[in-house]
């Protein structure tokens, strides 16, 4: 499941990059930093990505997640630090709902 979510986040990031003309690295992996130091997105782009990922998970993987989080912009414990941590966060939510 995590791999599926990682792939989906990469797809969402690519779409967002095209739409908003954001220059993204050639390779996006689970270790790619999304936000903060060396992050590929600014805070508004991060918001757009989170929303897109929520919608794509529901559409393509068939379950609803809420990726809203109070620790969103915290450098240390944000679930949005990397593509991998975001995937873990979404997967944990799916696990919790079953």
């Amino acid at each position: 499941m995590r791999d599926n979510i990682v792939a989906l986040i990469v797809e969402a990031a690519r779409e967002l990059g095209d739409q908003d003309e954001i220059e993204l690295p050639v390779e996006l992996t689970a270790d790619t930093r999304l936000f903060g130091e060396d992050g590929i997105l600014d805070s508004m782009a991060l918001v757009s990505l989170i929303v897109a990922v929520e919608q794509m998970i529901e559409e393509q993987l068939g379950f609803a997640v809420s990726l809203a989080d109070d620790k969103a912009l915290s450098q240390k414990s944000s679930p949005y630090q990397t593509i991998g941590t975001l995937a873990d966060y979404a997967a944990a939510q799916q696990g919790a709902s079953h």
Partner: protein, 232 residues
Amino acid sequence: MSQPVTLITGTRKGIGRYLAEHFVARDHQVIGCSRSPTDWDTPGYQHFELDVCDEIAVRSMFSAIRKSHGRLDNLINNAGIASMNHSLLTPLKTVERILEVNLVGTFLFCREAAKLMQRARHGRIVNFTTVAVPLKLEGEAAYVASKAGVKSLTDVLAREYASSGITVNSIGPTPIDTDLIRAVPKQKIDELVARQAIKRLGRCEDVANVIDFYLREESDFITGQHLFLGGL
């Protein structure tokens, strides 16, 4: 342009019902919601039964809208409740319920609508505040506080959503002859109306007129504004 998709909360009766019929007549695809079923129906209107503060139900309605329409053009946050009472005689449960429906419900709908609208980089959100806010109306402390909250929420969301092409404005109606004010003594309403520049009760048409203005394509440079009826 294809038919606009317009979501209106609190459409079972009163202003909400009027607005639903108004926008159906203007060829919008109208989606409405209320806690209980409507005793009316019209082609071009789809109803959801839910409580506006029930996050799971609200999110699943938005998911259904995304699946069936693929977008949302307009959100009209009309649902609201009031309770006329001196604060010393107001149970906390009443305060919590008013804040929940009027403020938390509005927040939830704005958030979910903006998620849908930002994909299209276009959207219009209209929230409901009230003339009771600038009038600092005694006997409506919780209601006025909740609607002042809606006004501030509108200000901030206008800024947060501007880069996504979404405008967020509010309308502040005067008393209108609906269930919301039916329990209020006539003398109180008369006193209120006397404080307006134009001394008459509001009409649903007055509200629809302001919303029509906010929804116009040409209104894309108007956001974070509050329009009070009756000359407050």
